[in-house]
C-alpha cells in the first residue's frame, strides 16, 4: 500500500492542475471559483441601471454626478469550493487479491484529487464508509472534514492507508455525511448500492453540488483470464458462476452494457462519469476527471 510519502511522483505530475467547477459556486470565502454573489469585489464586471430596492450604497456616485443617471457597479466575487471525496472500501475494491490494484488506484485518485483541490485553495474532506457487521449495512465511517490547512493531504493519505477494503459497504448513506457539499467526488466500482447512490447523487446535483463519479475498473474485470474458472463474488461468496469460453462473450457484453448504462445514467443526472482502469496512470486519470467537459465554460 502506498504511503503518504509514496505519492510524490503523482503529486509532481499533478502540479499546476486545476479543478474548475462547472457552475458558479455558492459561498463567500474568497477563493478561485466564481461565486454566485456579486457585490463589493474590486474586480469590475459591468454597470446595471438602478432599480428600486437596490442598495444605494452600491450606486456609482461618480457616474451619477457626471451623467445624472443612476447605475450600479457590478463586480464578480471569487470563492472557495468545499470538496468531499467518498471512497468505496468494500471487498470488491480489493481486487485482484494479490495486488489489490483497484483499491490502490482508488487511493491514488483520491489523493490526486485532494492535491488538486487543495492546490486551488479549496477545503477538502474525505469519507471512507466502513462495512457493518452484516452485508449491506454501514458501520462507523472514517471521516476527515474539509479543511485547507497544511498537512491535510498527508492526513488524507494516512487515512486511506489505514483502511483495508472488506465487507459489503453501502455508499449512499455516506453521501448524507457530506452535508450540502459544493463538490463531491465518488470513487467506487459501482458494484454495491449503485442505484441508491445514483438516487442520492441526483438530489445533491439538484441542490447545486458538482458531483463527479470515478468508476474504478480492474483490467482483470475487463479482460478475464483465458482459463475457465468459477467466478466468485467476493461480497457474496454464494454467487458462483463458471466463466469459460462459452460464457466469456456474454460476460463481456453484459459488463460493457452495465458500464455504458452507468455512464449514461450518471451523466443524465448531471454528474460527470469517468471510468478509470486500475492500471491506468493515476495522474492521467486525475487530469481526465478534473478537466471540464466540452461545451462547459470554466467558472474558475
Amino acid at each position: 500500500m502506498a504511503r503518504a510519502g509514496g505519492y510524490g511522483a503523482l503529486l509532481d505530475a499533478l502540479r499546476g492542475v486545476t479543478w474548475p467547477v462547472r457552475r458558479t459556486a455558492r459561498g463567500g470565502t474568497a477563493g478561485t471559483h466564481r461565486s454566485r454573489l456579486r457585490g463589493l469585489s474590486p474586480e469590475f464586471t459591468e454597470y446595471r441601471p438602478y432599480r428600486q430596492g437596490d442598495d444605494p450604497r452600491r450606486l456609482d456616485w461618480k457616474l451619477l454626478a457626471r451623467t445624472d443617471r443612476a447605475f450600479l457597479r457590478v463586480t464578480s466575487d471569487r470563492t472557495t469550493l468545499g470538496t468531499w471525496i467518498v471512497v468505496d472500501a468494500s471487498a470488491s475494491m480489493a481486487f485482484p487479491e494479490r495486488t489489490r490494484a483497484k483499491w490502490a488506484q482508488a487511493c491514488r485518485v483520491a489523493v490526486g484529487l485532494t492535491a488538486v483541490a487543495l492546490g486551488g485553495g479549496d477545503p477538502v474532506g474525505i469519507v471512507v464508509p466502513a462495512g457493518g457487521p452484516e452485508p449491506g449495512t454501514t458501520g462507523t465511517a472514517r471521516i476527515l472534514p474539509p479543511r485547507t490547512r497544511r498537512g491535510t493531504l498527508g492526513e488524507v493519505a494516512r487515512l486511506l492507508d489505514g483502511v483495508t477494503p472488506e465487507g459489503s459497504t453501502a455508499l449512499a448513506p455516506a453521501l448524507a455525511l457530506t452535508g450540502r457539499a459544493a463538490r463531491l467526488a465518488i470513487v467506487t466500482d459501482l458494484l454495491g448500492d449503485a442505484d441508491a447512490l445514483l438516487r442520492d447523487a441526483r438530489k445533491l446535483v439538484a441542490a447545486g453540488a458538482d458531483v463527479h463519479l470515478v468508476h474504478v475498473v480492474a483490467r482483470e474485470e475487463l479482460e478475464p483470464v483465458a482459463a475457465a474458472f468459477l467466478a466468485t463474488d467476493p461480497e457474496e461468496p454464494s454467487l458462483q458462476r463458471p466463466l469459460g469460453d462459452d460464457s466469456r462473450e456474454a460476460y463481456l457484453g453484459a459488463f460493457d452494457a452495465f458500464r455504458r448504462g452507468a455512464a449514461r445514467a450518471w451523466r443524465e443526472a448531471g454528474a460527470t462519469y469517468t471510468e478509470v482502469a486500475a492500471d491506468e496512470p493515476a495522474a492521467h486519470a486525475v487530469r481526465r476527471i478534473t478537466v471540464l467537459p466540452l461545451g462547459v465554460a470554466a467558472s474558475g
Binding site: 478475464p224 474458472f229 467466478a231 458462476r241
Partner: protein
C-alpha cells in the same frame, strides 16, 4: 481359480476402461477464483466438460476401477479349486443280491478309491455314500490306510442287500452327482463295480447310459451263485390243482408242514408258526383256495368278476375269467409281484425278517384246465420264486457290456450341466469388498470436494 461366468470379467474390464476414460474427460468443477463482476457472468451450470491434461485424483480412480472389477468378478462367480484334479471319479458300487461277497467288492473299491472320489451304492435304488462311511477305503492324509473297525464299517456298508440291482438307478444317480465333482476337475470318470448280471439291466438302462457323455470303466466282480430251484412245501387239499401246476413247472414238492423246504405255499390258513418260519429266511406264499370260506388274511374283498380277465407276473400272462373275491393292498414296503390287467395288485410281497411273505389273491378254479396251462406254470413259478423274484444272474452279453462301456474319452467337466445358478460364497465377499470400495470412494470424493 476358475469362473463360472467369465463373460462378466470382460464386461467389467470394459466398464473399467470407460471409467478411466471418463476420469480423464469428465465434467469437472473448475477452480474457483474471485471476480467482483461475477454477477455479469451468465448463470450456467457450475460444471463444464474439460479434459485433464495430467492425471489427478488417482486414488479416486483406483477405487472406482477396483469397485467395478470386484463387481464383475463377483458376477463371474469365481470358484476356488485349490485341489483341482485332472480326473474326478464316481464309483458306482453294486451291493445288490447279485454280488457274491462284499469283501471282494470292498477290496476292489479299496484298490481304486482315492481321496475326493464320490461313491454311489446301488441295489434297486441308488444313494450317495454318506461322508465318512468309506473312509477306511480311501488313502489317508499320509497315504496310509486305516483298518480295524473302520474296515468293518466299510464292509457292512457294502454288504449285499436283498433287492435286485438296477443299473438304471445307478446311472441316474451318477448323472445327478456329476455336477458335484465337475467344478474341481477337468474330466469325470465313471467306474462301475458290479457283477453286471442280466437281472440288473432293464429297458431304461441303455437310454440312461447314453446320457453319460464319456466312456465308463467297468470293473466286474464275482456274481452270486445261481441257487437250485427250491422245493415247495404245499399245505392244502390233496386235490389242489396247484400241485399239478407245480409239478408241470418242474418244482419238487415236499410233504407236509414243518418240512425244510425253502418255499411254503399255504392254501388254507396262516399260523404264527408260518410267520416265524418266514422270518427265519423262508419264502411264505399265502395263496388261499377259492371260496368265501377260505378268504382271509390281509386284503379287501371286492367281488369283482372279470368276464375276460388276466393276471401278469414276471412276464407270464394268464388270461381267464377270474372272479376277484379278495384283494391285496400294496401298502408301504410291499412289492407287487403280480397285477391284474387293470393295474390292481394281485400278489404282493413283503419282507419278513430274513425271508418274505407273499399274499396272492388269484383264484384258481378247482375244475377246468386253467392250472394246466403253460401260462399258469410260469405264474406259479414266479409266485414261488425266492424273495425279490427270480434271480437271473447270468452275465450280461458282450453287446450290452459294450454299450455300458462306451468308447472315446472321459466326460469333460466343462460340458457337465451346471446346477442352478447361485451366488457362490466368494461372490458375496467380492460384492462386499466392492461395496466397501464404493463407500471409500464416496468419502474420499466428499472430502476432496470440500474447499
Amino acid at each position: 481359480m476358475s469362473f463360472l461366468a467369465p463373460g462378466f470379467l470382460a464386461l467389467a474390464a470394459a466398464a473399467a476402461a470407460v471409467v478411466v476414460a471418463l476420469h480423464f474427460y469428465a465434467r469437472q468443477r473448475p477452480r474457483a477464483a474471485l471476480l467482483p463482476t461475477a454477477r455479469f457472468v451468465p448463470d450456467l451450470a457450475a460444471r463444464a466438460p474439460s479434459r485433464a491434461s495430467r492425471p489427478a485424483d488417482l486414488l479416486l480412480l483406483l477405487l472406482r476401477v477396483l469397485a467395478v472389477l470386484l463387481v464383475g468378478a463377483a458376477f463371474a462367480r469365481p470358484v476356488l479349486d485349490l485341489g483341482r484334479r485332472p480326473v474326478a471319479r464316481i464309483f458306482v458300487v453294486d451291493r445288490s443280491r447279485a454280488v457274491r461277497s462284499p469283501l471282494g467288492v470292498r477290496d476292489t473299491v479299496r484298490s481304486r478309491l482315492a481321496a475326493g472320489d464320490l461313491v454311489v451304492l446301488f441295489d434297486s435304488a441308488a444313494r450317495v455314500v454318506r461322508e465318512g462311511a468309506l473312509d477306511a477305503l480311501a488313502p489317508g492324509a499320509g497315504g496310509a490306510r486305516r483298518g480295524g473297525a473302520d474296515l468293518d464299517v466299510a464292509t457292512a456298508a457294502l454288504a449285499p442287500a436283498g433287492p435286485r440291482g438296477s443299473l438304471s438307478a445307478a446311472f441316474a444317480l451318477a448323472l445327478r452327482s456329476a455336477p458335484l465333482v465337475a467344478p474341481g476337475s477337468d474330466s469325470i470318470e465313471l467306474v462301475v463295480i458290479s457283477p453286471l448280471v442280466d437281472e440288473e439291466w432293464d429297458a431304461a438302462t441303455a437310454d440312461l447310459r447314453r446320457l453319460w457323455r464319456g466312456r465308463v470303466t467297468l470293473v466286474p466282480v464275482a456274481a452270486a451263485e445261481t441257487r437250485p430251484v427250491a422245493a415247495v412245501d404245499l399245505r392244502g387239499d390233496v386235490a389242489d390243482p396247484l400241485r399239478a401246476t407245480l409239478g408241470l413247472a418242474g418244482r419238487s414238492l415236499r410233504g407236509s408242514a414243518g418240512n425244510t423246504g425253502a418255499v411254503r405255499l399255504v392254501r388254507d390258513r396262516l399260523t404264527p408258526a408260518d410267520s416265524a418260519w418266514a422270518r427265519a429266511g423262508g419264502v411264505l406264499v399265502f395263496w388261499p383256495a377259492n371260496g368265501p370260506e377260505t378268504a382271509g388274511g390281509p386284503g379287501t374283498a371286492t367281488g369283482t368278476l372279470d368276464t375276460v380277465g388276466a393276471v401278469v407276473a414276471e412276464g407270464a400272462v394268464l388270461v381267464a375269467p377270474f372272479a376277484r373275491v379278495r384283494g391285496v393292498a400294496g401298502g408301504e414296503g410291499g412289492l407287487v409281484v403280480a397285477r391284474w390287467v387293470d393295474g390292481a395288485p394281485a400278489a404282493v410281497e413283503r419282507s419278513l425278517g430274513a425271508g418274505c411273505e407273499r399274499d396272492v389273491a388269484i383264484p384258481v378254479a378247482l375244475r377246468g384246465d386253467l392250472a394246466l396251462r403253460a401260462a399258469a406254470q410260469h405264474l406259479v413259478a414266479a409266485l414261488t420264486a425266492p424273495c425279490g423274484g427270480a434271480r437271473r444272474l447270468a452275465p450280461l452279453p458282450d453287446s450290452l457290456t459294450n454299450v455300458l462301456r462306451g468308447a472315446g474319452a472321459l466326460w469333460p467337466s466343462r460340458s457337465v450341466p451346471r446346477r442352478e445358478a447361485h451366488l457362490v460364497p466368494a461372490s458375496a465377499w467380492l460384492l462386499a469388498a466392492a461395496l466397501l470400495g464404493l463407500l471409500a470412494e464416496s468419502a474420499l470424493r466428499t472430502r476432496t470436494a470440500k474447499p
